[in-house]
Symmetry: C2
Subunit: 423 residues, 2 copies
Amino acid sequence: MALLGCGVVGSQVARLLHEQADDLAARVGAPLELAGVAVRKMSRKRDVDLDPALLTTDAHALVTRPDVDIVVEVIGGIEPARALILAAMAEGKSIVSANKALLAEDGATLHAANRADLYFEAAVAGAIPLIRPLRESLAGDRVHRVLGIVNGTTNYILDKMDSTGASFTDALEEAQSLGYAEADPTADIEGFDAAAKAAILAGIAFHSRVTAADVHREGITEVSASDVASAKAMGYVIKLLAICARSDDGRSIGVRVHPAMIPRTHPLAGVREAYNAVFVEAESAGRLMFYGAGAGGAPTASAVLGDIVAVARNRIAGTRGPSESVYADLSVHPMGETVTRYHVSLDVADKPGVLATVAEMFSRHDVSIQTVRQEGRGDDAQLVLVTHRASDAALSSTVEGLRELDIVRAVASVMRVEGDEAP
Amino acid sequence: MALLGCGVVGSQVARLLHEQADDLAARVGAPLELAGVAVRKMSRKRDVDLDPALLTTDAHALVTRPDVDIVVEVIGGIEPARALILAAMAEGKSIVSANKALLAEDGATLHAANRADLYFEAAVAGAIPLIRPLRESLAGDRVHRVLGIVNGTTNYILDKMDSTGASFTDALEEAQSLGYAEADPTADIEGFDAAAKAAILAGIAFHSRVTAADVHREGITEVSASDVASAKAMGYVIKLLAICARSDDGRSIGVRVHPAMIPRTHPLAGVREAYNAVFVEAESAGRLMFYGAGAGGAPTASAVLGDIVAVARNRIAGTRGPSESVYADLSVHPMGETVTRYHVSLDVADKPGVLATVAEMFSRHDVSIQTVRQEGRGDDAQLVLVTHRASDAALSSTVEGLRELDIVRAVASVMRVEGDEAP
């Protein structure tokens, strides 16, 4: 076996391979031997004691060595990870990867080149078993929807905002000081990380090919303390959700990442701090949820080890696990066709006829209002509306129309409402 | 494929095999053909349209037919299920079973006789993928503890008691009227059902052989409305838990089913109504939770179908999935060696020195008290104590000693406290 990368995750994988060697041999039926570890710099300090003879900077030579049959890629990023995996696949090696970016951007190339196993449990939601349950346990079921909290950084920030009333900026700073957010937090707070995971989940759940580019993506930087407070007052909590759902006619799928309000009674509402959880609605199984640590060296290494055991067992048995399943071949519909509910907050003039004018604008675009509430008086008057299900296109047209009304001073916020099947 | 049983689960399995035939064929790589369905009575009305030619009352002839390669057993109970599975195994058939009672009582015989695959995802927690994640996803990790709500009936009853203040009897009656509890609820409320599932989970999580007889079992019939209220006042909720845990020295395991208080902030506390959830603590993966419907025809059938797809794929590939793993061979220690925390409620005389006398009794048995609270006055005085971690044997001796004290009128309740790692 070859290990590519010896950073936060790689060093934990190496440590566990060593510490759990006897257990792993018992489970595989043969010892797992580490033939080499590819690193960028030989001299760097690492979190694990490794025989220096195992280290190499020539990753390409390592993955094509005849005594290597399994390649574990924990480098991340597109290149050189892709080239190394493809080189290993050309030699018939089995691959275990934790690389969400690569799988979401170009999974098709990897699956097409794969001649043995390509396992990637660690690519989505760290330690949480998710790929295997979706690919195998639910293989006889029909998934309707996947709702996931798949980014720990943003969940930590939104949870702090909810529990302490902090602003986004303050919560982000706290997350950075505690190591939950990076110095450059863009990939997390703008939803890129969650979008990659959404693409991978959607492809597996719906047996279709989905890439990161197909995913509608909105981050959490616009979520204000007042949005959080408003959600709280209504019994909701704001989470950054990755949502993959079949359209009502079942012919296409929507894949999106954005902040949304969910009822506090929803199982996802209780997911605190940097934890991840994925909620699955399937036709026969009903509502399932998978919860756990979505990141971190040891949790991610646990998922990698599970995959290593599986591909090693498959090699010994001379077989392969389930390969890419894209037989359903559903297309991803544009965001405008997504149907959901919306929470709209407007700063309005406090005079007679305002509600009638606003309601008429919703009605003109066929968006039906479920509840409306006026807060404040005079210059501070706010109108808070929650709609019935409507298409994103219809809601966008409504909001454009509202912005042009004299009596609407500002559209303070528009937030989707999910996980609440009340009509 | 042969289907044994066509009741609540079997009829759903038959329906899904028919309705999802194309999807299943795409996932397996070959069509799944139902060769026959064994039933007790030919004439009974069923929830599925079946070709009458498929029905037979001769289950033994069906499972040994040469054109049957997979046998799906959803009869339940020990016999004739065991004899039929063994007869099928003798012919090299692959088995999918949802039979928790049989696997918990005599799994060893089945595993020993197994010459192909024996899959049983549906035997524990219905639709929730649990066996596969434990056997495969966590194959490279080390499980420390499994805490599960694995019986929907008792969770429904305890949830009603918690949310409405109802007595056990009233909550049970409501559960019966809604179909969540059977006319004879013994197997559920006395913990037999949960104990069978605990045995299966413990065996898989700790790679050891555990049977239902090894499981310490207490039901929920003694849980009173006042216990529930007392838990609530302290920020706890009472759940019937199946707990499988490594001892502190790692050399043995404890397997037990009993009502316990857990903090309301624990992920299991939010599991409402008849839902099930299993919380797993593993060395590298950390805290994981799996949540969903634990019973019912369609959810259980979803799990059965996932297994059918897996064993069918294995047969086509000429291989087998993971077989029984008992290499760790840990023994199950007696309940007395279990170490946990306790909530003890005493009816006491309201006079000076009571607390000192009670505290001395705890101290005599080396049970350390974390908090103590007196409620009421005079004849209604109650002393509520929560202990630090202590062995069950020490706690039992303490309680015996308390019962002999003049100033203790009654030991009103003793409840274990779990999921709270505060010292």
